[in-house]
Structures are given as structure tokens and as C-alpha cells.
């Protein structure tokens, strides 16, 4: 929104934006009210009680308990109200809807890589449709970055070694700034991009027109075989590792007695540091794949595991040849590199 050539206000292009703006305007009003109140009082006093003779002194007034209570309690109550309002907005921001269109984001100095589930890859640009909740699952390859889309009023740090999330539902087609908002080194101010929001039809057209490399899940299936994960993780429970079918999202018990939910972070940890959270009833024999799988590879494997449902299974690119005596000594291969 512009007034002349001075922009005062960013576009409101998401379902949360107007809620955030509402709170903002209330607080602007509150700030203006109290500031003007104090300023006017001071101005009036400065004039009305201006010193008239050099030796004049002020009245002897110690204080007033009633006033102290009033001007402590009223601001306190106002603060409670603001807190409740802001918390309501925040809880909505931290709880994505059940059905979201997921996009993986990998940040690295000084660029953004976006990976759609069906295989579309974008650099510094993210295409999304209007009216569909989108969840970004993000990690960094090096230092802490941050995805910020002011038009959607969303922001989240992107941290190496773990996944962070943010979600939004775009309401207006258009192009919006995407900034890195956590200082990350030399080209921090260059680590910018844009979110391109399209009407659903245009978005479908864009999807269809891209170069297809295969969905993330199918690439993950290929990686699953290349790295011989399938020798231990078999669908028939005969392998040395837990069955992965239908596993994503479930609670599992660990050897230590704790329970965890199988989410993106748990799968990632199990691949990189397999012996820290071993499933109950299994031996800690899984080797680590640290250094053998890139961040993108991890995302592909995660999507593959998510896709493992007994009723619909993504076809791996190569047919599964393993039987009970599946080869433990998979021939040495160069790790797949995806950059």
C-alpha cells in the first residue's frame, strides 16, 4: 500500500496477515494514546507551573496510593488483554492445518533451494497456489538463516542440524519478497527471493510445464535401494530393522523406555545418529550415514518413508530383488550426490 511514493504498509496476502495487522493497529493506537496523553500533560504542566520567581519551590506532595494502584493495575490488565490476543494469533501460526501442501526448503550461504514433493526444484523462487495451506519444512546446510515473507507476516529461523516449520495460506496472486532474516555472513542481504502466488489453474499449468525429475518420494525410493536400506528395513518384518510401512506419524517405544513420534526430525536423526534412539526390541546395529547422504537426500528419504503405506506404495525406480538372504555386502558404490 503506498501513499505517494512512500510505502507505509506491506501487502496483506495471507489468511494470517489481516489478523496480525489488526493487533498492530490496535497497538499503534495504544502507543499514540499514551504518548500523546503524557506529552500533553507534560506540556500543560510546563506552562501552567512554570517557575515565576527564582526561589519558588514546588508543592509538598509525597504521592497517592490510589493513583499508584490505578496506574499499575490498568496497564497490567491492558497487557493481559494484548497477551491473550497475541497468543491467539501465535497459536494459529504454530498449528498448521491438518492438510498442507508441503515444500522442503534448504538454505545455504547464500541461496534458497525449494523442493516440491513432486520433484519440482526452484532456486530463490517459490511458486504456490492461492487458497491452499502451504507448510515449509526447512533446514540449513551451514549457519542459521531465516525465511521471512513480510506479505504473509511469517518468519522462522532455518537451523543446521534440525527442521523448522512455518505455514501460510496465500490469499492473493502476486509476487512477494522473501528475505533471509537472520544474519548469515557476507551476502546476507543478497539472500533474497520471491514467492510467486498463482491462481490454482495457473499453478497447475506451471507444475506441468516444469522439467520432471521424479517426485521427491520416488527419488527417495531409489536412494533407499542405492544405500541398501532395504536389506534391513523390509516390509515383511523379517529384516533386522523396524518395518517402515505406515510408520510415519506413529508413536514408537524406544529401548530406553521413552516414546517418540516418528516425524521428519526422528527419521533424520535415525539416519545420521542411529544409535541414540533405538526402537524397543531392536539391536543398535544400524550404521550411520553421516557424510553419505546430503540434506536433499535426507529430504527425499523422509518423503519416501512418508509414502510407505501398505495400500499405496511408491514404486522404486529399480525392482526389489531382495529375499530373506538379501545381500549384506552390497557392492561399494559412490554415494549419490545431489546438489
Amino acid at each position: 500500500m503506498r501513499s505517494g511514493t512512500i510505502p507505509l504498509f506491506p501487502e496483506a496476502a495471507s489468511t494470517m496477515a489481516s489478523r496480525v495487522d489488526g493487533l498492530y493497529f490496535f497497538l499503534v493506537g495504544l502507543t499514540a494514546f499514551f504518548t500523546i496523553l503524557i506529552a500533553v500533560l507534560i506540556a500543560v504542566f510546563m506552562v501552567k507551573y512554570k517557575r515565576r520567581t527564582p526561589n519558588e519551590i514546588g508543592a509538598r506532595i509525597h504521592g497517592a496510593m490510589a493513583l499508584e494502584i490505578i496506574w499499575s493495575v490498568i496497564p497490567l490488565l491492558i497487557c493481559f488483554g494484548i497477551f491473550a490476543w497475541a497468543t491467539d494469533i501465535f497459536l494459529a501460526m504454530s498449528r498448521p492445518p491438518a492438510e498442507t501442501m508441503n515444500v522442503y526448503v534448504v538454505g545455504k550461504q547464500w541461496m534458497w533451494k525449494f523442493q516440491h514433493l513432486d520433484g519440482q526444484r526452484e532456486i530463490n523462487e517459490l511458486h504456490v497456489p492461492v487458497g491452499r495451506p502451504v507448510k515449509l519444512i526447512m533446514t540449513s546446510e551451514d549457519v542459521i538463516h531465516d525465511v521471512s515473507v513480510p506479505a504473509f507476516r511469517v518468519k522462522a529461523d532455518v537451523i543446521p542440524g534440525r527442521y523448522s516449520h512455518l505455514w501460510f495460506e496465500a490469499t492473493k496472486a502476486g509476487e512477494y519478497h522473501l528475505f533471509c532474516a537472520e544474519y548469515c555472513g557476507t551476502r546476507h542481504s543478497g539472500m533474497v527471493g520471491r514467492v510467486v502466488v498463482m491462481e490454482p489453474d495457473d499453478y497447475q499449468a506451471w507444475l506441468a510445464g516444469g522439467v520432471q525429475e521424479g517426485s521427491l518420494a520416488s527419488s527417495g525410493g531409489k536412494l533407499f535401494q542405492d544405500l541398501a536400506c532395504n536389506t534391513c528395513h523390509r516390509p515383511d518384518a523379517q529384516g533386522r530393522g523396524p518395518v517402515l510401512q505406515n510408520l510415519f506419524g506413529k508413536q514408537v517405544s524406544l529401548e530406553s523406555g521413552e516414546t517418540v513420534v516418528v516425524d521428519e526430525a526422528y527419521i533424520r536423526e535415525s539416519i545420521l545418529m542411529p544409535r541414540t534412539k533405538v526402537t524397543a526390541g531392536f539391536q543398535p546395529i544400524m550404521p550411520t550415514f553421516q557424510g553419505l547422504v546430503s540434506e536433499e537426500g535426507l529430504l527425499e528419504l523422509i518423503e519416501y518413508v512418508k509414502s510407505l503405506k501398505t495400500d499405496s506404495q511408491v514404486q522404486a525406480v529399480r525392482p526389489n530383488t531382495g529375499g530373506p538372504a538379501a545381500n549384506e555386502n552390497t557392492p561399494a558404490q559412490t554415494p549419490p550426490s545431489r546438489n
Partner: protein, 540 residues
Amino acid sequence: MSSSTVSIPSTHYLNNGTTLKSWLLTKDHKRIGLLYLAAVTFFFMLGGAFAVAIRLELVTPAGDLLSDANYNKAFTLHGVIMVFFFLIPAIPSVLGNFLIPLMIGAKDLAFPKLNLLSFYIYFVGSLFTMYAMVSGGLDTGWTFYTPFSTVASTTAVVPAALGIFINGFSGILTGLNFIVTIHRMRAPGMTWFRLPLFVWSHYATSLIQVLGTPVLAITIVLVAAERIFGFGLFNPAVGGDPVLFQHLFWFYSHPAVYIMILPAMGIVSELIAAFSRKQVFGYGFVAFASIGIAVIGFLVWGHHMFVSGESVYAALVFSFLSFLVAIPSAVKVFNWTATMYKGSLSWEIPMLYAVGFIGLFAIGGLTGLFLASIGLDVHLTDTYFIIAHFHYVMVGGTIMAYLGGLHFWWPKITGRMYNRTLGKFSAALVFVGFNLTFFPQFVLGYLGMPRRYHAYPDEFQVLNVLSSAGASVLAVGYLLPLFYFALSLKYGEIAGDNPWGAVGLEWNTTSPPPTENFPVTPVVTWDAYEYPTPVEGHVV
């Protein structure tokens, strides 16, 4: 003792010993305060020079004045110098050192030699940091976030960190000195509730210095160990947690901002009382509000980390507590305003700064509510809104109060008055320049302009140009006092013991005071700011 003598005594602390050694090895708290004054003024100008570079660069959307790397060093060093070498030490080490013994009726602080040591520790710390500046610079931001600062930055992180580490001990020892002094060195009859609010504020500040700064120290040790020895405490590649650094860092650095504002609030209490010739309304509430701010201030650090991945539960707790910490500050603002009601108000320069403080601190503090509101902070964090918020409280707040305090106590410190016209002009320039510089930044922040960017989208340019224009006005406003304060030393009107007609033990001795402060130890039988009879003072 009459308070209407308008002369400079023949011996006082300034001419009691004139060799360089008598200054560099002094144990007189007043001289040590002046040593600090020289040092912090130098660092303020140095930090200001970096600010000039930043604002010049930001006049155009492209990053065309400084390279990426140099811009990153400019804002880092601006922050490091201003926070650690100016804002944290300035009021306590200059005015606190000078005034606390005078205000409580003591001859000196409890540990004068420790006080001198504190100064030299500050000095050595600053040498390390300046060495870092010239041997590679520093580009981590003043917040040193890992893993960038431990693994990726190629600048002189360790020397700079060492400089800040050493400098921290200066603050810790000053705080320790103030605490023991206020407990043990008060003159007979000077009970806690007769203390000037300036002393209460410095007591609260000292509590924070003593409890918070050591945590910064250990955090720096861990970062240095990581960088020098290759330990992996914050490195995710070996299972370390980069966000743990943020918790440890902000556990100190949030209370640190109260180290920066509480002494300023103490000054404002003194100025409002003196220029209303009236007791501070609700003295007890203002005194306890300082302690309240110090205590609650230790519980809110997580509000810097709302988008860093902390749990929803933790975020809610920190948000709630952050709202709570606003209340004591609000109470102070209301009490100061009420003090002016039916006072005898004078428009002297210190009062202009005090009133300016109240207005600008109100805006700065209220914008803190925006940031405590998590749902809104998500949009505003790491943008220019944050920058505007903290400059309103630290510059519109602390620096205004500091200048007000310098203008108020200058006659006591030097025996001379400065040119009032230049002073008023300067104050006006500071007020106008400040608002022009930083108000547009609130708008820029809501628009989404991230901080630490030197290249930005074209549509943000007009607001940036306004901000840079304001900065040039502000710069003049800050340079002028150097000039007229220096002039006053030679040509200034002689001030006399109590030019403002104020109440306070410091005004009951000569200007400048004798080395031992009071020829005889005062016995106090009156409350703070008690104006029982018309006061004779230097007629304006």
C-alpha cells in the same frame, strides 16, 4: 555552610595534584569518573563514525558504498562499541562514580583501588577490541550467533571476544564496588529511604551487572574454546546445539539492556525533582520499580528467540513475563509526570533532556509491547522495527538522560557553566534529528526490511533517505556539546556550589568538590528532594 557562594575554591579535586601520574594513578572516584568520561566519549564518537558509514550506505538501495564484507563489519563494530564500550559503562562509570559517594555523604567508594583497576580493565579490553578492528575486523553482528561466529566467520572473532570478556570484568567490579558502597558507606542518618533515586537505580543496575555479566563471560569462553580448540559445543555436525548459544547469550544480554536504562532513569528522577523543586511523586514506588525491573529482567530473555525454534510453551511464558516487565517502567513514567504537577518548573537544558527522555522512552517502551506480542513479533523480529525500538530506548532514552545528566552536573564537576543558547540549540537538534532518524525505521520494519541489510528493494529508499537525513542532524547535535563543554572550561561563567537551587548532598559542597568530598561528614536528617524552605541559588 552557605550555598550562595559563587566562586571556585582554591583547592579542589581537579588541582589537588597536577602531574600525569596523579591522574593516571588516582584513587579519587571523581578523577576516575573523568578518565572514564574521556574514554567513553572517544568510543561514542568511534561508534558514531560507524553509524555514519551505515547511514551513508543506506541512502541508496544498492550496496554501492561499502563492500558486503565491510558493511557487515561496520554494523558489527557499531553495535559492539556502542553497547559494550559506551552504553553499558557510560552513566555508571562516569556519573555513578562521580556522584554516588557525594550523594551518600561518603569520602569515596568502598574500594578506590578496585575502582582504578576497573578503569584499566576497561582500557585493556578496549585495546583488544581495537586490535581486532584493525586486524581483520569483526563481522558476526554484536550478537555473535553460532555457528557463524564459531565456524564460518573469517574475521578477528577471538581478539574481539577477548576484549569484550575483559571489559565485562570492569562492569562486574564497578557493580561490586557500588553495592558494597551503598550498603556500608552511607553517612549517618542516610537511611535507604532517604537515598536519592539515582542511587537506587545504580544499586539495581549493579545487581544486574554482578549477576548477569559473568554469564556473558562464560559464554564468550565457550565460543572462544570452540574457535580456538575446535570443541564442538555449538556445532550441529557433532551434536552440538547452536540455539544453546542464544539462550546463554541472551540470558545476559537482555538484563544488559536494563543496565543501560536503569541508570538513565535514575538521572531522570534527579532532573525532574530538581527542575520541579519537588519530591519525586511515589518515591517508594519508583525505588522498588528499579528493583522490580532488575529482577523480572532476568526472566524474559527468550523473547529474543520467538522464531528460533523454542517451544510454544516456553514462548508463551517469556511473552507473559515480558509484558510484566513493562509495568514498573510505566509506573516510573507516570510518577515522573505526576512529580511535575504543582511543581515549580524551569525550562533549563537538563529539564529539556529529561522531558525528551520521557516522551521518547514512552514510545520506545510501548513499542516493546509490540515485540512481546508473539503473533506480531514473528513479523517484526529481525527487521528495522527492532532497530527502531531499541534505538528509541537506548538513544532516545539512555543517551538523552546521559546528556541531561552531564548538563546538570557539569557545573558541579568543573565549577563552570556552559553556553546555554548553544545547549538549547543542541538539545533541539538532538530531539529533531533523533526522531527523523528512527521513526521511519518503524515503518520500514513493518514493511519487512530486514536488519543488517545494506542492499534493499527500491521501494524502501525514501524512508531510508529520511532516516539518513535525520542522522546528519543528530550528528551535529552530538558534536556541539563537545565544543561548548570544552569552551566552558576556560570561558564559562563560574557556577558556585548550587547553581540550580537543587536539594542533594552533592550540592552541599563546593563546585568543584574537594578531594575528600566533604570537609566534615554530613549527618542527614531530611528526606530526598525535601525542599523545606525557599532555596537560594544562582539566579539565571
